[in-house]
Symmetry: C2
Subunit: 411 residues, 2 copies
C-alpha cells in the first residue's frame, strides 16, 4: 500500500510549524497536543523542534476511542469532570516560557450521535478547567501555533464519496496547499503572505472605525468595535517577544468587537464543527451586544448550551475579515474544521476576546480590556458569516461610511 | 495477518488491572501512562474503568521515537530538563484521589547506544522532577497498579530468534500466564494468590527479624531490617482506604531494610534493565548500609551515575523474597523488565523505601520513617540477587538463626 500522504510535504509542514508557526527559540520547551492518528506529524515536529534547539518536547495525545468510551460506558457523574490538574500544569509551563503547538485532526462528527446534554456538560467542564491554559493563550503570553493533519476519520467527512486512501490524499493536499507547503520555499512564501496581511491590518487601523456594518442575504448586522481596538493578521509578537503565526493556515485580519455594541441579525454561511458535533444554519439576533435569539437547523441543543456556558458566551470576542477569493474559499471544500473554514469566510466569535487585539497590548490589564469593551468568557467559538454576497462598510468615528468589502471582496 | 495477541486474554488483563490491580472505586478519576504501542490495552482499560464508574480517564502517552529524537537531534541543554509541571499536576490529581495505572511495554534496549552521560543526566532530571508524583506512590496515598503489554520492540529483545509476530505472541502468552489471565476466573485466582502472599508476610512479621543473612555464590550479605518494619505482599490498602495490587504480576513479599545496617558483598543474578539501558553482572560491596564499591560487566557508567543520583541512592529501600520455583522464574524467560524479572528472584532495591512497609503506616511521618532507618532517595531501582543457590537465614532480635530460604526455596 502506498501512503496517500506526501511525506516530503509533511516534513515541510513540520518545518513551517516550528519555524513560521512557533518561531521556536533555542532553549524553549514545547508542549504539543495531538490526536493519536497524528503521531507521524508529531514525530516530524519533535525532530524539527529539537533541531531548532528545543529544551524538552512533550506531547499530550488524545484518543477518539477513549472519548467515545466515556459516552458509551461512563457513569453520569463523569460528564462534569475535567483535567484541571493538567491545565494548571500547562499554565505553569507557559509561565516558564514553554511554547504551545496543537495539531488539529479531529473527526468533526465524533460526538454527533451522543447525548447533547452530556456533550454540553463535558464541554462546559472542559472550558472551566482549561482556564489557566486559555488565559495565557488569549493574553498571548507565549508563542503558539495550530497546524492540521489529515486523519482518516476527518478525511472521510470532507470527501465522503471517495475511498479512505483517496480521501486522505485529497485532504492532505488541501492542507498542504492552504499551509503553503506545496511551494518551493514555504518559509519565504509565509514571509510574503504575512506582509499582505500586515498591510490590510494597517489600513484598517488607520481608519480606526467605530463599527462595521455587515449586509447580505439574511444579514444586517452592526458590530461596534472595542475602544482602542487593534487589527491584527498573520505574524505577531507574543508577550515573550517571540514572533509567531498562531494559525497555519491563516487568511484573516481580525480585531475585538465591543461586548455591548452589536445590533441586528446575522446568519451563518457555513456549518460549524463544534467539539465533535455539527451546528448548521445558525440565525442569530443581537441586542445590546448579546445574542437574544438563536436558532439552528442542525445542533440547536448544543448551540443553546454553548451560548449558555456563561455570562459572556452570547457576546462577541472577535470579528475577522476574509475575502471570498481566499485560496481556501476558492478550493470550494468544506472542511468541517474551523481552522480552515474560518479562513474561507468572514467570521465572528462568541466569547472571549484576545487582549492582543488592543493598542499597547503588551501592558494592558484585564480591567482595561473590560473598560474598552472587550468581552470575557470561558469559550471562544468562531462561526462563519461571510459569502460572495457580503458587503461591509466601515463606520468612522464621525459617522462617515467607508466601503470595506463589496460582494465578498476587499473594496 | 492474524493478530498474535489473544484479544480475549487482553480483555481479561484489562479487567484484572481495573478490578484487582486498582480496585477502582466509583467516581475515582484515573491517570494512565503508556507507550503509544500499548494503545489497544489502554482502550480496553479505559472501557473497563468507565464500566467500573470512573470519573474521568486520562492517558499520558510516551513515544520511543520522540525519546530517540531528543538524543539524535537535541541540544545539550535538553538533557537537564524534565516536565516538573506535569508531575506537579499529577501530584495534585492524586491529592484529589485519582488512581494511577502504568502500562509497562518499553524496549529495554532503547537507549543502549546513546551517550551514557546524557542518559544519566536525563534520568537524574526526571527523578528530581517526578518527586511530587513519586512521593504519593511511595507513601501509598492512592491505589495504583502496573501491568504490561507485549510491544514488538520488547518482544524482539526477549525472543531474539523468532520473527516479530511469533515473538509478540510468545511475550503476550508469558504476560498473560504471569498475570493469571489465562485462567478461567482470573479475579478469583488473584484472591487465592493474595492469601498465600499474606500468609508468608504474616510468618515473617511474627518472627520480627532484626536482619536477614543472604548467602550463595558471590554473595555474603547481611541486611539489617528497619525498626518497626512490616512485611507486605500482594493486595494491600492504600491510605485512601482502597485495597489494590500495585504490581500485576507479583510473587514477592517485601519490607524495608535499615539504611545504615547492611554489610557484605552481593552479586546480581539477572541483568537489570534501567531506563532503556542494560546493567549486567553487578558486584557490590556494602559498608554501614551503603554501597562503597560496585562494578558491572555491562553498563558500568550508567550504574555509577545511578548510584551517584543523590545521598540515598547507595543505600537500600527494599528487600524482597521470591522463591526460585515462582512461575515466572520457572518459565526460564529473561524479560529484561523489572516487573517480571524481580518476580523471578529475591531482590533488593537501591534508594527510596516504601513508608507502607512499617507498622502503623497509615499515620507514619517522614521523620519517623527516617528514625526507624528507612532510606530516602529520588530513585527506587530493584535488582535481582536470588538464584537456585540462595540461602537466607533470619536473625532474630536475640541473635537466634531461623532458616528462611534453602536452595532458593522457602525453608
Amino acid at each position: 500500500m502506498i501512503n496517500p500522504i506526501d511525506q516530503n510535504k509533511l516534513k515541510k509542514l513540520a518545518q513551517v510549524a516550528v519555524q513560521v508557526g512557533l518561531g521556536l527559540e533555542k532553549g524553549q520547551d514545547l508542549i504539543m497536543t495531538a490526536p493519536l492518528e497524528a503521531a507521524p506529524l508529531v514525530r516530524l515536529i519533535t525532530r524539527e523542534a529539537y533541531r531548532a534547539g528545543a529544551g524538552l518536547v512533550t506531547t499530550l495525545y488524545s484518543d477518539a476511542e477513549a472519548t467515545l468510551a466515556r459516552y458509551r460506558y461512563g457513569h453520569d457523574l463523569s460528564f462534569d469532570r475535567s483535567t484541571g490538574w493538567l491545565f494548571e500544569g500547562i499554565g505553569q509551563a507557559f509561565d516558564n516560557n514553554a511554547a504551545r503547538l496543537a495539531i488539529s485532526a479531529e473527526n468533526p462528527m465524533l460526538l454527533a450521535n451522543e447525548d447533547p446534554d452530556k456533550v454540553g456538560r463535558a464541554n462546559k467542564a472542559m472550558s472551566a478547567a482549561s482556564a489557566p491554559m486559555r488565559k495565557r493563550i488569549v493574553e498571548f503570553s507565549i508563542n503558539w501555533n495550530i497546524v492540521s493533519y489529515p486523519s482518516a476519520d476527518w478525511a472521510k467527512q470532507v470527501f465522503p464519496n471517495d475511498n479512505e486512501d483517496v480521501a486522505v490524499g485529497k485532504l492532505a493536499d488541501a492542507i498542504f496547499a492552504a499551509s503553503r507547503v506545496d511551494l518551493d520555499d514555504p518559509v519565504a512564501a509565509w514571509g510574503e503572505h504575512n506582509k499582505v496581511l500586515a498591510a490590510k491590518s494597517k489600513w484598517l487601523n488607520e481608519h480606526n472605525f467605530a463599527a462595521l456594518h455587515f449586509s447580505g442575504p439574511g444579514t444586517d448586522l452592526t458590530i461596534g468595535l472595542a475602544d482602542n481596538h487593534e487589527w491584527m493578521g498573520g505574524a505577531a509578537p507574543a508577550k515573550n517577544g517571540i514572533i509567531c503565526n498562531p494559525n497555519i493556515p491563516t487568511e484573516e485580519v481580525f480585531t475585538t468587537p465591543h461586548a455591548t455594541k452589536v445590533e441586528g441579525y446575522v446568519c451563518s454561511s457555513k456549518p460549524l464543527s463544534y467539539h465533535g458535533t455539527l451546528i448548521d444554519n445558525i440565525k442569530a439576533r443581537f441586542e445590546g451586544g448579546r445574542i437574544v435569539e438563536a436558532t439552528a437547523s442542525v445542533g440547536q441543543e448544543v448551540l443553546t448550551k454553548m451560548l449558555d456556558t456563561d455570562e459572556g458566551a452570547r457576546s462577541l470576542g472577535e470579528v475577522a475579515l476574509v475575502p471570498y477569493s481566499s485560496p481556501i474559499s476558492q478550493s470550494g471544500t468544506l472542511f468541517y474544521n474551523t481552522m480552515f473554514d474560518e479562513n474561507a469566510a468572514c467570521h465572528i466569535a462568541q466569547g472571549q476576546c484576545y487582549s492582543k487585539c488592543f493598542k499597547d497590548s503588551e501592558s494592558i490589564s484585564e480591567e482595561q480590556v473590560k473598560a474598552n469593551g472587550g468581552n470575557s468568557s470561558q469559550i471562544h467559538v468562531d462561526w462563519m458569516i461571510g459569502s460572495a454576497e457580503t458587503n461591509i462598510d466601515g463606520i468612522k468615528q464621525n459617522g462617515d461610511l467607508v466601503p470595506v468589502f463589496r460582494k465578498g471582496e476587499w473594496a
